[in-house]
């Protein structure tokens, strides 16, 4: 086994920013807005670096798809302890329509090319909340998947994954190579220390184009319109339970 882990990191609008919809309702405003690494991707990077520190894997490779600025996100991963990065250059219209299907094709191609033992992704991105890339990547590779992971450990040649599911926790064992997606409680991402930030300067980021990987970026989806959520209306107070039932029937909800 190569001992190599691929970690996908996505550049998203920072979680604390107030999102604004463009006047033409085509998308949200991204110009001049603060961006950061998707919080679940941070957790994924942390897990990969932890595995390397435990000497269970040998190399952590951070991957990001997007325009030039995606390199900043890769550098953050390098500052957290990833060994090298791969920047898959996607710009313009291709970037606007880039979604889980395209990214998973890219991740699958890279996983094969880099002979990865494990692919760790965040469970979902906080901008589109798709929760699909991990699952699609595993399917394309025909690899087992451990999604919504709250605990990952190595058990011989298998990986034990404790998954967060609706009813509680589920423990599965999957063979490697595999895809794992990180959930909230998997770990607490470390602060990038200043020594590691300076070391990250020397780490390499390779530049790759989707065409080089034989990936077709055509989207099957078209965004028709983007709207803000409706303004929350004031509630109505009623005197009795009968009034309440009456009003609910009127509104057609009962």
């Amino acid at each position: 086994m190569s001992g190599r882990v691929l970690v996908g990191v996505k550049r998203v609008i920072d979680y604390a920013v107030k999102i604004r919809v463009k006047p033409d309702n085509s998308s949200v405003v991204t110009d001049g807005v603060k961006h950061s690494m998707n919080p679940f991707c941070e957790i994924a990077v942390e897990e990969a670096v932890k595995l390397k520190e435990k000497k269970l894997i040998k190399e952590v490779v951070a991957v990001s798809c997007g325009p030039q600025q995606a390199q900043e996100t890769i550098r953050t991963a390098l500052a957290m302890g990833a060994d090298r990065g791969i920047h898959v250059e996607v710009t313009g219209k291709d970037y606007e329509t880039l979604g889980p299907l395209q990214v998973s094709k890219i991740m699958a191609a890279l996983a094969k090319k880099e002979d990865a033992q494990l692919v760790i992704l965040g469970k979902q991105a906080i901008d589109d909340d798709c929760n699909q890339t991990g699952q699609m990547t595993a399917a394309l590779l025909d690899w087992p998947q451990g999604t919504f992971a709250s605990e990952v450990s190595f058990d011989g040649d298998k990986i034990k994954v404790v998954r967060e599911i609706d009813g509680g926790l589920e423990t599965i064992k999957i063979k490697t190579p595999a895809v794992v997606t990180a959930d909230l409680r998997l770990n607490t991402p470390r602060y990038a220390t200043l020594p590691n930030i300076m070391k990250a300067k020397k780490k390499k980021i390779a530049n790759v184009k989707p065409a080089d990987l034989g990936v077709d970026l055509t989207s099957r989806l078209e965004v028709v319109r983007v709207d803000e959520p409706p303004q929350r209306q004031a509630g109505v107070k009623v005197e009795t339970v009968d009034d309440l039932v009456g009003k609910l029937k009127e509104a057609g909800t009962v």
């Binding site: 979680y15 919809v21 949200v28 509680g168 607490t188 990038a192 220390t193």
Partner: protein, 447 residues
Amino acid sequence: MALRVNLLVNSSSFYKFTSFVPIRSFSERVSSKPEPSSGPETTADHLIYTREHFALKESLRKIIDQEINPHVDQWEAEGTFPAHKIFKILGSAGFLGVNKPVDSHTLQLVCFRSVSTVLMEYGGLGLDFSYNVAVSEELGNIRCGGVPMAIGVQTDMATPALARFGSAELKKEFLVPSIMGDKVACLGVSEVGAGSDVSSIITKAVQKGDEFVINGGKMWTTNGTQADWMCLLANTSDGPPHRNKSLICLPMNLPGVHIARKIDKIGMKSSDTAEVFFDDVRVPCKNLIGQEGMGFTYQMLQFQEERLWAVANILTTMDTVIQETIQYTRQRKIFKQPVLYHQAVYFRLAELQTEVELLRSLLYRATALYIKGNDVTKLASMAKLKGGRLARELSDSCLQYWGGMGFTSDVLVSRFYRDSRLMSIGGGADEVMLGIIAKYMDTVPRK
């Protein structure tokens, strides 16, 4: 404002996701007019910062948001903050040794029959002063002045002389743990009878055998009630006042060291400030930093850095106060329209923002010259002078626009009003700065 929410898992465990759960406030219809921004921060265009500076700021900001800001109100109320805890977090992330030495000249150890060379790791990063400025700027995001000030004492006031002139042994005992955040340092220079006039301090360290016997006291000691050691300036001989003082590393737990009181101040409340007395305190002579008699000179050497550091810190806070004042006055209505819509208000804010940017330019200019090896005493003194005065003007004007709310303890502007008043006094009073500038202008009357 992001909200802090505790997530419950299986009703028994308790988890904080970076202290803030990603909850966004409702979005607004964006206007077609350009968004007001505080200035371009692209790495390619910045005067002195590189990508690494910005990465540093981002990481430090996370620590501030998660470990410091949630507790500031409580620490202000209590009149102290847990220095050991906070310094350990910062030290582990490498933020306390930014421009400190990485390692020493090698030591040789004779081990059995082989000789091995050991590099003394000091744990510093050996970066230039522009990185200290970046750290200081980012610490300005802490919602009080006390905590950044305490950190600044640790990194840029109590330790620079030790880093530059201390013996290897002394560095190992005091500098390394201070960089790692394991030991809290304080600076013992000012006294009850000597602030601006440092040369008139009366604390004495008399040599008796291989020990110094110290008598006297120190005032305005930031971190004084929690410090493990003090960088002490004392008279060690009977020479002329600028040549008879030395810097000594003084452990604070030695018999004879009395922390007389924690001083109750009108601002910087989260920083514990102590009055300390020394009653026949004995410390080994090897605790002397560098050369005897050079203490005054050593302290003076770092004044430029101290002053630029203070300016970097207060600039960020001034930006924040202006922004919060804009937000407040935009939603606060008087006579049926927002306070902000009155020309007197937005004109004044524009004026203040202009002055902030001017001071920022001076800071970057002085920093750029300094890291190239130039003496920036004049510019650093000018920047500190302006920093103190602008902070007073700005906090006063902005507080006015907050009206009654500005007079309460619930808002940042009133805390800034109290905290920032110190800048014209501490670290070199305005009058001292003016004297230095006049000296460089050659306008001081000759004797």
